[in-house]
């Protein structure tokens, strides 16, 4: 199989390789795939106070198309809102990188990685709001944790 020039370009010069602090509440981490299946992607986003993704990083174990798909994803994620990021579809990656049919699963994995990073970020944010809400009413007396959670809607 021959690779598209875009895939080759991304694998030779992968963008945004690296690791963000996974314990940072503003960082969402997605780890998808499995070594036994031949590809694992870790994609991380860091969301700024304005709600924009200010940084995105990846590390990928996989073939050239998997590396290129995740590299491209990090490029696209930067500067987007979470909603915009969530709208990225694997077909967009397939089109941009000219992936052949046998490599479509690489783009699917990249979409999964984005979704998983967003879900992680949201879960952290929700947990933080929970703990803030649980702490705030405390001055008016103890509120059961479950009630605070409900108040959040």
């Amino acid at each position: 199989m021959s690779y598209s020039t875009k895939v080759i370009e991304h694998t030779e010069n992968p963008r945004n390789v690296g690791t963000l602090d996974k314990n940072d509440p503003n960082v969402g981490t997605g780890l998808v795939g499995a070594p036994a299946c031949g590809d694992v992607m870790r994609l991380q986003i860091k969301v700024g106070d304005g709600g924009l993704i200010e940084d995105a990083r990846f590390k990928t174990f996989g073939c050239g198309s998997a590396i290129a798909s995740s590299s491209l994803a990090t490029e696209w994620l930067k500067g987007k809102t979470i909603d915009q990021a969530e709208a990225i579809r694997n077909v967009d990656i397939v089109t941009e990188l000219d992936l052949p049919p046998v490599k479509i699963h690489c783009s699917v994995l990249a979409e999964d990685a984005i979704k998983s990073a967003i879900a992680d970020f949201r879960a952290k944010q929700a947990a933080r709001r929970d703990s803030v809400a649980a702490v705030a009413p405390a001055s008016e007396g103890p509120v059961p944790h479950g009630a605070a959670r409900e108040a959040q809607g």
Partner: protein
């Protein structure tokens, strides 16, 4: 240093034709183009003479008692089909059971699968961690109805050389025929149909610096005389075992390639082994977590099958695209399943995905080996920096214990 890129290190897949072989072939395309079956004119006689000369040479390399034991075919796929189906068809009254092993080439395994559909019973023996079958397992698998044992000389992925001599003693004692797919090993490791008691052997020219599309099946003619049912009906060429006009130029080239192997094979193997060891020791010395797949001791001189943990094989192949190698990674096949050969050794899927097969051969040089060692070491390091698995490994996380979300 003038190094020609790309570098070919995939000699198990095929080989370039040796210029000395090409030279002998050329006249047979133009001047001496006769049909070897034309019995009544000079063109036919010349072609027949050339074919018989080649037959002698192929027979000599294999240790055949007579050139008449060589049947020319289109390659080893056909030879394997003819051997196994031919024997199964002929000896149907005698038995219905064949013994083989799990790392055989698909040309053997799929032939056996086909016969199973037709009611034959096939035992697929497991191999050890080193890729070898245990001759004792062969002995145990043979029953009253066993007509054939088919065990390869050397494996095309991991280069593991099978204990054929020991197996031959067993099959001979038990009166069962022994077929061997000898494609990868002939000329490179000791092989001889007489001393090894091999009754049928498949070979192909393009793995030994001859042309593609020509091969042979050795069929023993005495003690015991092996009988086959032809699988191709037609003009009755090749003593009725393989009809079809002979590909004279290719057969001539095959003969020459065998002659070169017979005369130079031993010395060449020593040279290639030294190159392979140079490559292996450099890679294992410079990188951590590099695993050798298959037996170290019982191995083709030119074969180096390594798993570079935490790096995916196809990704690595792409990073070293000026070097032609091959991988057991699923990504290189359309099936998305990693190599069944590595699986059979008990190599985990993740290491199978990380495997690279280097196949060294006649035209590789020490300079090429050094270039490849440097390049591979550099790229593996770079890809590990890109690998979440390597990072996790360095953090001390046991990758086996992670709950992976397969997609």
């Amino acid at each position: 240093m003038t190094l020609q890129l790309p570098i070919f290190m995939d000699y198990h897949s095929t080989t370039p034709v040796d210029p000395r072989v090409v030279e002998e072939m050329l006249p047979h395309f133009t001047k001496s183009f006769g049909n070897a079956a034309s019995r009544n004119h000079a063109f036919g006689w010349a072609a027949e003479e050339a074919v018989e000369h080649a037959r002698e040479r192929v027979g000599q390399l294999l240790g055949a008692a007579s050139a008449k034991e060589i049947v020319f075919t289109s390659g080893a796929t056909e030879s394997n089909n003819l051997a196994i189906k031919g024997v199964a068809d002929f000896y149907r009254d005698k038995g219905d059971h064949v013994v083989t092993q799990v790392t055989e080439h698909k040309a053997v395994l799929d032939t056996c699968k086909r016969l199973e559909k037709e009611g034959l019973r096939v035992t697929y023996l497991d191999v050890g961690k080193d890729g070898r079958v245990d001759p004792a397992d062969v002995a145990k698998a043979i029953g009253d109805k066993t007509i054939l044992v088919s065990i390869m000389l050397a494996n095309n992925e991991i280069g593991t050389v099978q204990p054929l001599r020991e197996i031959g003693e067993i099959t001979r004692a038990r009166g069962v025929l022994l077929h061997s797919d000898a494609v990868q090993g002939v000329g490179k490791v000791p092989f001889d149909v007489q001393s090894m008691n091999v009754d049928l052997a498949s070979v192909t020219a393009h793995k030994m610096y001859g042309p593609k599309g020509v091969g042979a099946l050795y069929v023993r003619r005495s003690k015991p005389r092996v009988r086959l049912v032809a699988q191709m009906d037609g003009g009755g060429h090749e003593r009725g075992m393989r009809s079809g006009t002979l590909n004279v130029p290719a057969i001539v080239g095959f003969g020459k390639a065998c002659d070169i192997m017979r005369l130079e094979g031993r010395e060449e193997s020593a040279r290639i082994l030294a190159l392979r060891e140079r490559l292996r020791t450099r890679l294992v010395g410079e990188l951590d977590e590099v695993h050798l797949n298959g037996s170290f001791e019982h191995r083709l001189p030119g074969n180096l099958n390594l798993s570079f943990a935490f790096v995916e094989g196809e990704g690595l192949m792409m990073a070293i695209k000026d070097v032609a190698v091959s991988s057991g990674s699923a990504c290189t096949s359309s099936s998305l399943e990693p190599s069944y050969v590595l699986r059979a050794l008990g190599v985990g899927d993740e290491l199978a995905h990380s495997s690279i097969r280097f196949g060294l051969g006649r035209f590789n040089t020490p300079e090429e080996v050094d270039y490849v060692a440097d390049l591979v070491a550099t790229k593996v390091r770079k890809l590990r920096e890109l690998s979440p698995l390597y990072e996790m490994h360095q953090e001390g996380i046991d990758l086996e214990k992670v709950q992976w979300v397969a997609h």
